[in-house]
Symmetry: C2
Subunit: 293 residues, 2 copies
């Protein structure tokens, strides 16, 4: 049983953790802090949180569990702000989509208390955002990836794994570098590729004509280009080394297509298209995560 | 009323034209030719066609309308093969996804008879292929783009427009170059971009790990990478100049992202992501074509 849970960032992600823990009867009191007072008022009115904190440091005061569910670009300031106000036995987790960057921010902010932080990435999301979008079942059957630190005690990692499992999630562990490299490839790169295509076409004088003739292939390919620009700017910058490497590899492959096309090299195109088509057809999206952020 | 319709390539696209014209009572006799005898036998058994031709030239013998629904890579040989066997009053149309290339093939094959050919691109498709997938309602409410030639008589263009309208389609006209440049941008480039991403990830040692963690963003972004490699090889080569230019523009934009990311230039990323997100959110896919090929 969690006595006092501090949630920093009471949006869809943070609010849904509160509701899921309440659903399971595993939390006694939830204190929320966030930038928008209106959102916090709504969270309180909806029973997502039980108390509004005016500042991050008062939210974590006396808390035995702390969840950082702020944008990854705001993690560093948040860790630094709470460091001197944490209880001795506190355990901290987060919900950031990138991990090496968040861990670096935690090391800088928490200093010697770094062992209290067990990093996590819940693979869940939804179209809507804010506390009013929070749902007790958001994490049911979803994956949460923990990237434990060398400093974490096994019991503490297990306790944070348990917190996410109580929320309904399946928990997996991997190294932070591996996490960032996987999500750079399967999530961050596709988002940038979709943003790039839509901005490229939207910037042209004939943009209206293009969009008028775009069909279902374009629709699906570009769906993620409708995502939050702020969130993806933060994620891109937070995962810079891995994402830069992915962009380089992708640009190289598109350049190879370009050269094959210019040379009329049907064989190279056919080989690559065939490998891609087979791999995509064999992949069963139903076996995988519902959302990637 | 069409007396004798010759369909060269009795697949989903060609077969559905036959069924749609029969549904409207606007065709008396349909002769089909194709590479696969089994597919032709099935088309005959299903009533898609009324007669099987052994060769393209016997299919068009005495036909007042001819539809070329073969892959764009097979258009040149088909035009050349039928040229000397066409009736004087025949009108020919096609269903190719690229137009300048098909028109060049028609000019080379038909010579002085080029005026009898009114190029068309029906924007329709489905998951399944072959004559057994043909449906009388495939073109209902779909767009068909005509790219008439300077040599076409207005009456002949109107007659081919009428043929597609009887199939249930909405007919629009534009120049072939404009058609190819629009579809290079909104359809052909996204297909190559999806093939490139999937092949890039599938080629790596950690491919299994990537696919295991890929979510709904990846699923939608890469859906079109499951398309037919042969068809897209043909389309890419057939639309080489326009598609090469699109690949260049896309690579340049991704390279700008890469440089902004490496430089930590949050502003450039934010501006582009914001323009893309707004453009994508304003676009109403429901207003557009159901399928792009």
């Amino acid at each position: 049983m969690i006595e006092r849970l501090a949630i920093l960032g009471v949006g869809l992600i943070g609010g849904s953790v509160a509701l899921a823990l309440k659903r399971a009867g595993q939390v006694r009191h939830v204190v929320g802090y966030g930038r928008s007072r209106a959102n916090l008022d709504e969270a309180l009115a909806l029973g997502v949180i039980d108390e509004i904190a005016d500042r991050p440091e008062s939210a974590v005061d006396g808390a035995d569990r702390v969840l950082l569910a702020v944008p990854v670009g705001a993690m560093a300031a948040t860790f630094a702000g709470i460091a001197d106000h944490l209880a001795a036995d506190v355990l901290i987790t987060d919900a950031g989509s990138t991990k090496q960057n968040v861990i670096a921010a935690a090391r800088a902010g928490l200093g010697a208390r770094i062992a209290r932080f067990v990093p996590a990435h819940p693979i869940a999301g939804a179209e809507r955002s804010g506390a009013s979008a929070a749902r007790a079942d958001l994490y049911d059957g979803r994956n949460v990836i923990l990237t434990p630190l060398p400093e974490n005690a096994l019991d503490d990692t297990a306790a944070i794994a348990g917190l996410w499992q109580v929320c309904g999630a399946q928990v997996a562990e991997m190294a932070a570098a591996e996490h960032d490299s996987i999500f750079a490839a399967v999530s961050h790169l596709p988002h940038l590729a979709a943003f790039a295509l839509v901005d490229e076409l939207a910037s042209r004088p004939q943009a209206g004509l293009f969009f008028r003739h775009a069909g279902s292939g374009f629709r699906d390919f570009t769906r993620i280009a409708g995502s939050s620009p702020e969130m993806w700017r933060d994620i891109a910058l937070a995962n810079r080394p891995a994402l830069t490497a992915e962009l380089d590899a992708y640009i190289a492959r598109l350049s190879a297509y370009r050269d094959a096309l210019a040379a009329g090299d049907a064989g190279t195109l056919m080989q690559s298209f065939t490998r891609a088509s087979l791999a995509r057809s064999r992949w069963q999206p139903g076996d995988t995560l519902e959302e990637d952020e």
